[in-house]
Symmetry: C2
Subunit: 184 residues, 2 copies
């Protein structure tokens, strides 16, 4: 197992998040993202097109199914007992199957994480998040789904890599990498 691990190339995991100013990523679990800008959408698609695979939660997958079913998408779900595939989409229960081992077995190099809150949280807690790219749309929602659904307050430190205004109304992209690098 150790030999196998050291042979496999390191995967780079990049979380992509579109958020309000106040850190809300959706109204509810199955809400769409009609409030995100065309510029964010374009950026999001350009990152996905450079990714070998995409990790999404079941609700996020359902909202974005038309696009995600064309990609190598791993849908994290507690409903699947074993790995189930449907075209290029894999349904994986992270409590029953090891997500990292699965991704390494596929020889993926760049993997994008597209949410929602439980998936971002699972990836952060399990060291499956080397970078996070946060697009802040200029809205305050005051309620809705928070970016991360952690059980406990914890200080995960990141480092700002770049900052860019995406359009005139002020959609803003902040790109961070994890402070402590980890092997995988």
């Amino acid at each position: 197992m150790a030999t196998k691990k050291s042979k496999s190339a390191k995967i780079k995991y990049t979380a992509l998040v579109a958020t309000s100013i106040d850190g809300r990523i959706a109204e509810g679990a199955r809400s769409g993202t009609d409030w995100t800008s065309a510029e964010d959408w374009k950026y999001f698609q350009s990152v996905l097109s450079k990714s070998d695979a995409v990790i999404a939660g079941f609700n996020t997958y359902k909202v974005a199914e038309a696009g995600l079913k064309k990609r190598n998408t791993i849908v994290l779900t507690s409903k699947a007992d074993k790995l189930k595939s449907q075209g290029s989409v894999i349904f994986l229960n992270p409590k029953k199957s090891n997500l990292k081992n699965f991704l390494q077995s596929k020889n993926y190099k760049n993997v994008a994480i597209v949410g929602g809150a439980l998936v971002y949280n699972f990836c952060l807690e399990n060291k499956i998040m080397d970078e996070i790219f946060v697009t802040i749309e200029p809205y305050i929602f005051t309620n809705g789904v928070p970016m991360f659904a952690g059980a406990k307050f914890k200080k995960h430190q990141f480092i700002l890599v770049s900052a860019k205004k995406l359009n005139k109304k002020g959609t803003f992209l902040l790109r961070y990498k994890r402070k402590e690098m980890y092997g995988n």
Copy 2:
């Protein structure tokens, strides 16, 4: 009353927020802000020094009492029946006294809002927020107090005015103004 209102100068209300990447402003209601940077603290103090008064919730006041009791601070609290003053600090129950009328009676021109989540929310809902300055510290907390404690999801649109990196590790300041301007 109409004459009195038109005579009084318009107050500019500026909310100051320090947040994690994921929109959390504290671990709990009475937690301190030891995770905020020296650069944010300096910026925060410079804005307060240009403000005629400060609006704070009771918990925020208790956390920052040493600094706030030296200023014209209006503490919003459900515990006060009538206006109560203690030096330069006023305890005001916004359900019993009209906050805007009180601030206008004092001829304040610049008023800062320093939180917490309930106070930010109250001010946003009651059109007591012309600007919001958000300092994003490079952490993800996954849990804690969200920036706004709204009862319902709502789309409040803002416009980005400026963006600035405050230090090397990537503390970032975004300054927004409300899209719809309102009289007061």
